[in-house]
Assembly symmetry: C2
Homo-oligomer: 342 residues x 2
Amino acid sequence: MIKIKKGLQVGSQSIAFDDPVHIMSSASVVGPKEGDGPLKDTFDKIVEDATFGKDTWEEGESEMLKESISIALQKARLKTEDIRYLFAGDLLGQLIATTFGVMDLKIPLFGLYGACSTMGEALALASMTVHGGYADTVIAAASSHFGGAEKQFRFPLEYGNQRPMSSTWTVTGSGAFILSKEYGDVMITGITTGKVVDYGVKDSLNMGACMAPAAADLIYNHLKDFDRKPEDYDRIVTGDLGVVGREILCKLLSDQGINIASIHMDCGMEIYDDEKQDTHAGGSGCGCSAVTLAGMLMNELRSGETKRILFVPTGALLSTVSYNEGQTVPGIAHGVVIERGV
Amino acid sequence: MIKIKKGLQVGSQSIAFDDPVHIMSSASVVGPKEGDGPLKDTFDKIVEDATFGKDTWEEGESEMLKESISIALQKARLKTEDIRYLFAGDLLGQLIATTFGVMDLKIPLFGLYGACSTMGEALALASMTVHGGYADTVIAAASSHFGGAEKQFRFPLEYGNQRPMSSTWTVTGSGAFILSKEYGDVMITGITTGKVVDYGVKDSLNMGACMAPAAADLIYNHLKDFDRKPEDYDRIVTGDLGVVGREILCKLLSDQGINIASIHMDCGMEIYDDEKQDTHAGGSGCGCSAVTLAGMLMNELRSGETKRILFVPTGALLSTVSYNEGQTVPGIAHGVVIERGV
């Protein structure tokens, strides 16, 4: 590990935490389709009813978010009063899943929107807050829901539209992380914050292609800022590029002389079994990377199977309004370095 | 001023900056209606064409945001490369005004959503980032646009719906602030972060009533956390409660033995002249508090006319989806203490 001076600012867009921020606990709650997928054994809770007992997809998402936070609190043996700030967001317009999901908790809230990169943005700001001494314990969380997202961004499910092979399946899932100054074997040691990157792609059903340039830009600048090589990581993990986006990412980076193919993993490509589950290019949504990190990746880190990963969830920045007005779909990515303490 | 220990955390939801964060420059850009209002002489730029030369309201808002950032940079004699992070948000679903407004700047972005409280949220996180040593210079910005907001939340303008007297008029405006470790006579000395507060109000055309309880909760806890009285401030400034919300706020606080009426100011009640401009309960939107702070309030602070203010923009947390599904409209407020250096 390179020696980092106390100055914190590294390169043009990164921060290295001299004093790492600990992940005290993580929790994941998912819907039935995710619970049928390859990662089923890594989730804390699989709920068979995708409405989570509520009347609407949106209320269901709020309930799921609340449950993931509740499980993370239980695991850390903390109460809501112990949490100073909450950093959270979702995909829905005006963050309504988050609003109604966290309302009863009465924790001061920083509402975030980074599309499917939100889990990275939340972990970044949450770890800065703990490291800076502004809080001892905070929560970072993100969620998405297939039904709510299809209604929000594409067509209501009842419409039964055909999905092209490049399309991804929004994960019904919520991940929550409790960050602390002191407790936990797994730590956040650095972050790299992404810029809005636009390659002019306009196809909202090919979000992998929209987001891959942002992921490539983030990974390129991260490695430069920290003066590292891909080999310094056991895994470089993107959020939901899917099959199509992964190929573009690896190509863009290899054009810069950076080869990540052997250590790259995309959460969207892990969470479903496309042959059995007919999900096409993979999973997507804030929840996709959130639950994969909270479950599978945190398990690997805790057990020591991986020592250091770069977590890079990616977001496609569009709304039905921007799409219908003919705008492109730019991307953004946020990088978080997560390590097993020695 | 009370002596604050280096510990930073104050009370249950506040931070006191032992080493204040300086506001290096501020800028405001508004549309024609705001440029006809009582604050017209305090804005940096009034654009007579509310589309800002673009094809849509949304693109116009992006352009306005970009211009406000550009003016703030010019005033501080900085370039985009000098800015390490950007904290910004708007009211539109999935923050499309921000996305397309900041895309060309290529500054790492933290996208925020706090409804009309976003300027407070952005200033809070931006000042934590500078104070923590994570950046020397950052930008905090927020925008809103009447045409885009009506389309997003209510009806397209062409529909010509009647507006009840309790309704507010979304400000077409964008405010940008450059925060720095060193330069500037006006400083951010503390923040109080708000919780989602729900009083069960369901009327999206009476947002003042939805937001007033959140403002009251924030101000109450702020004064408690910092052990201050209203008299410790020259002004306590809410964002866009309007006539109706202001009354509720003052009542809620006076029930707790706190009287702020004489020093309270609401940006939404200052920005338009209702008698001449037919705006009803006042102005609203992220842009309302952003441009009032960037112009009038910063002028007062710079000149020494006011020494210390508590800036409390408030947000109504709803979307058309949550509203149509019968949800309430909860509120949130974020507090920022801004002082003239001695």
